[in-house]
């Protein structure tokens, strides 16, 4: 491959290149000016903004419809709009997490290591960008490990805190086993097909019949790695502990961005390896080698039920939001299990909404934690009158997470149920609906503690101007998309239907 070709191909990976560049800049800047913490945040935001610009610009780039003609390293990347959508989601999430860091009191003790913090966030971001567009099992594995390694360290970033250290240890043990199993599955897949490329595998699957038991085993093993990233049920045990122990900014990041990357990897894996064709009504004609439909339906039911039922008796807000994020992974798996373009549209809508409401909920939890030093639900007593604005914002986010109108969460759930009913998966739709009803209890319980229970302390808490702006920038879209959702749906349609 000559160098000119290399730079031509780089055009498909501008956002990733920029992130790599800014990762290097962050490390070098921190070496030269070890004291300048604020500047690191500004550099990070600049890098994210540039990468976001290039990612959105890719939306209008004409990509080759058949990726197999691409040469060089871009053969490993899938240039499609659904990937671009998920990249936009994680870039926005990263920008918000960098902003949240400015407000986090618990990270104050680690500010002398702020350079590492931002560099690790960028490492994670880079890994997620590649994971989203991976078209090759080795790239998928390497990028998944890049995400994981950075997040292990970030989860234990408060070195002196017992909870944080324990979270990182539990995370690395679960993560190491899950990715090891995934690697073993990849090696079996390689043994059967002789290639790592998704489209080569898909071409092979259309032609020959592969020993199906071994293929099933290797497929399930590969799903283990992705299932651990999206915290789907049999692989979810790390989620509550890590979410509770990690710094809250990182918890917010894990619950949105790394979940988005996992779902994008799953979508690309299924769509590029196992889909024979797309029917005119949008349903995917699956190759008969793997039972994706059954696997996804059962996992979706298990994931949302276990997540919601366990969340009922959590007294720690971060732990409760961890179980709630497991439940949301279940809803998203349900949308995925439709295996059609409608299901994908539902996923895109749901994820856009989930980004806003989950980040918002975690931001308010960070602000309350700064003032009360705890995430326990008993310390939320009477907070509604002490901080009316932030209380109202948390109310909006929690109502939206439940999926009640007039918030955006309702639109996400509505399109999910529409996709399920359209595919005649009525039972799954009913189970998802019952789960939403269950989830109402534990979300509203927080509001009851905030507004109806008297607290010991009555002194009002005034939020800083910056935190009000950030909370507004998340709460206003949640309300706006709940009422005026046509642009969201139109965007989802352009993303999915190319």
């Amino acid at each position: 491959m000559n160098s000119l070709n290399f730079f031509n191909n780089l055009g498909y990976a501008w956002p990733e290149t920029i992130i790599t560049l800014f990762l290097a800049i962050l490390v070098i800047y921190n070496l030269v000016y070890p004291q300048a913490r604020r500047a690191l945040g500004i550099i990070s935001l600049l890098g994210i903004a540039l990468a976001l610009g290039f990612t959105i610009q890719q939306m209008w780039t004409q990509f080759p419809t058949d990726p197999s003609w691409l040469s060089g390293f871009t053969r490993m990347l899938i240039p499609d709009k659904i990937g671009i959508f998920f990249k936009v989601i994680i870039l926005i999430a990263t920008a918000y997490v960098v902003l949240f860091t400015e407000f986090s009191e618990e990270l104050r003790g680690t500010f002398d290591r702020a350079g590492e913090y931002y560099a690790l966030i960028f490492g994670m971001l880079l890994g997620m960008m590649f994971m989203i567009s991976a078209n090759n099992f080795i790239l998928l594995y390497v990028s998944l490990e890049l995400v994981s390694y950075s997040s292990y360290v970030l989860a234990g970033f408060m070195k002196t805190s017992e909870r944080s250290s324990e979270a990182s240890m539990k995370y690395i043990i679960y993560g190491g086993v899950a990715s090891g199993i995934m690697l073993f599955g990849i090696s079996l897949m390689f043994g059967m097909t002789g290639t790592f490329y998704y489209f080569d595998i898909s071409r092979l699957l259309m032609m020959i019949n592969i020993n199906s038991v071994l293929f099933l085993i290797s497929g399930i093993m590969i799903f283990t790695g992705i299932g651990y990233k999206i915290s789907s049920v049999p692989f979810h045990f790390w989620t509550p502990d890590v979410y509770e122990g990690a710094p809250t900014t990182i918890t917010a990041y894990l619950s949105v961005a790394s979940k988005a990357a996992g779902f994008a990897a799953l979508i690309h894996l299924v769509r590029n390896c196992f889909v024979g064709a797309v029917a005119t009504d949008g349903y995917w004609v699956m190759l008969s080698h793997f039972y994706w439909k059954e696997l996804l339906v059962y996992l979706a039911i298990l994931t949302m039920t276990v997540g919601n039922l366990t969340a009922l008796w959590q007294d720690n807000l971060k732990r409760m939001l961890a179980y709630s994020s497991i439940a949301h992974a279940g809803y998203l798996l349900a949308a995925m299990s439709v295996l059609s373009n409608q299901g994908l549209i539902a996923m895109v809508v749901y994820f856009s909404v989930y980004l806003l409401m989950n980040l918002g909920a975690f931001f308010i939890v960070i602000l309350i934690q700064n003032k009360t030093g705890s995430e326990n639900i008993d310390d939320y007593n009477g907070l509604g009158t002490r901080m009316p604005f932030l209380g109202a914002c948390l109310g909006i986010f929690l109502v939206s997470l439940t999926g009640l109108p007039p918030t955006a969460g309702f639109i996400g759930k509505l399109y999910l149920f529409l996709a399920l009913v359209d595919a005649k998966m009525i039972i799954l739709a009913i189970i998802a609906l019952l789960n939403s009803v269950i989830s109402l209890y534990y979300y509203i319980r927080v509001l009851r503690h905030m507004y109806l229970t008297k607290g010991n302390n009555e002194s009002p808490i005034t939020p800083s101007f910056g935190s009000v702006l950030i909370a507004l920038s998340l709460a206003v879209p949640v309300l706006l998309f709940g009422i005026y959702f046509t642009p969201l749906i139109e965007w989802a349609k352009t993303v999915v239907l190319r």
Binding site: K159, E166, I172, F184, S187, L188, F190, P240, R319
Partner: protein, 113 residues
């Protein structure tokens, strides 16, 4: 008779099956180690076994399946990643030792509801 000849080929000629058998054993032992060991370092060794079992698979499939060098390349990637992972994991375990004064995974349970 055929059984005997299969057995004798199995014993005298090393083929793909032998490598898969070894890698399968290593994988199971790795999982067993992760599940049963109490010491965090031993758990991490179990994870290393899992990664290396996949490595044997990659190289064996590449050699016997005539898949070119893809398998060997994958194994190289995995070796590097395994080294990085154990570096991070040992750093985390060291930090656990500093905060808890032991590395027993059963006794580190501050995070409970």
């Amino acid at each position: 008779m055929t059984d005997m000849s299969t057995l004798s080929t199995f014993l005298t000629h090393i083929g793909l099956g032998h490598f898969l058998f070894i890698s399968g054993m290593l994988f199971s032992l790795g999982i067993y180690g992760v599940v049963t060991r109490k010491n965090a370092v031993m758990v991490l060794m179990g994870i290393e076994l899992i990664l290396n079992s996949a490595n044997i698979n990659f190289v064996a499939f590449a050699r016997y399946g005539n898949y070119g060098f893809h398998g060997q390349l994958a194994a190289l990637f995995v070796i590097i990643l395994a080294a990085a992972e154990s570096a991070i994991a040992l750093a985390i375990v060291l930090n656990i030792y500093k905060t808890f004064n032991n590395v027993n995974v059963d006794e580190i349970d501050k995070l409970r509801e």
